[in-house]
Amino acid sequence: MITGILHPAKVVEQLVQQGVTHMVTLPDSETRHMYDRLTAEPSIHVIPVSREGEAIPIAAGLWAAGQRPVISIQNAGLFESGDALRGLAIGIDLPLVMFIGYRGYTRHGDTPDSAARFLEPFLHLWGVDYYTIEGDDDLDRVPLAFERAEKSSQPVGVLIGTEYAKE
């Protein structure tokens, strides 16, 4: 199975266009090159967290202070963040775009990695809308995610179904 190539610079370009001010993140193996590109972007302040469950409440605080944050964590970290997602995103009507590293993803849907197998059922069960990105050609879904989050006043996922390319 071949997925497209996803360049960090293209994603950062989308974030800048959306007026993102902060990226709250815990790096994972899929997003290492994204982290390098993000920290080089002067208009976006990167906030590293010690555990993924901190990302949503920090983003909620930034939003209350008039900023425009996003978060970036792995699918396994989203599961760790479950109570924060429930109480401090869904529960407070937070329009938050969440970039989720889709560890274990294959387009066939047949994967031994439970982090991948459980991700979409988890999002469906919790009523969280999402878009999946597998390469640069899919990046028109990023503005859709921001629009969806704003219109619904709810968190929306952007699932990253491939490793970011090295630049």
Binding site: H22, I47, P48, I56, G61, G66, R86, G91, L94
Partner: protein, 190 residues
């Protein structure tokens, strides 16, 4: 040991235009003295995350002091936030930890270890100041200087444990308030 009433009164007396994020038992006592509900966020639906929410506000509104009234049990569930906060060095963040040694809202069960040196943990994590108080007079005397000194600061307050009566602290009403509180704060900080 200090009573909750005395501790929150001392903090409220120095509050001015500060945002205040509270959780669990602290919320009940803070609401009894606060005169700025538009700058208050009471977390009842996102256990342990008061310090993280406060960090986001402190980063996003760096000219505004941010007070967080955390609990010892709550902080134990989010200890990594000490390191995350220290990594950001928010000079406007004042992190109070009310230490009663118990899970008050669930009836007073003891913490896994009620004898933890939270100020030492804060300093080891990278907070620029940390203090501990078990005497009301000393808290009242020293707090003004602490809150005029840049943070991040951890202020540990030993309080008298008060196990809650059944079913009085967490209600659907208190959970339902938070979306409106967040929007009121957003308007106030514009």
């Amino acid at each position: 040991m200090i009573s909750y009433e005395v501790a929150v009164a001392a903090i409220n007396g120095l509050r001015n235009e500060a945002v205040c994020v509270t959780t669990m038992t602290q919320t009940k006592y803070w609401y009894a003295v606060s005169e700025r509900p538009d700058l208050d966020i009471g977390i009842s639906n996102g256990m342990s995350k008061a310090s993280s929410l406060a960090l986001g506000i402190a980063i996003g509104a760096p000219d505004r002091p941010v007070i967080v009234l955390d609990g010892d049990g709550s902080l134990l569930m989010n200890l990594g936030s000490l390191v995350t906060i220290a990594g950001q060095q928010p000079a406007n963040l004042y992190h109070f930890v009310f230490d009663n040694g118990i899970y008050a809202v669930t009836g007073g069960q003891p913490l896994p270890n009620p004898q933890v040196d939270y100020p030492a943990m804060a300093i080891a994590s990278g907070y620029v100041q940390a203090h501990s108080f078990s005497d009301a007079g000393e808290l009242q005397a020293k707090l003004p200087q602490i809150m005029q000194t840049p943070g991040p600061a951890l202020i540990h307050v030993s309080v008298i444990g008060e196990p809650a009566e059944e079913g009085v602290d967490q209600t659907w009403e208190s959970n339902a308030k938070m979306p409106a509180q967040m929007r009121a704060l957003k308007r106030a900080l514009e």
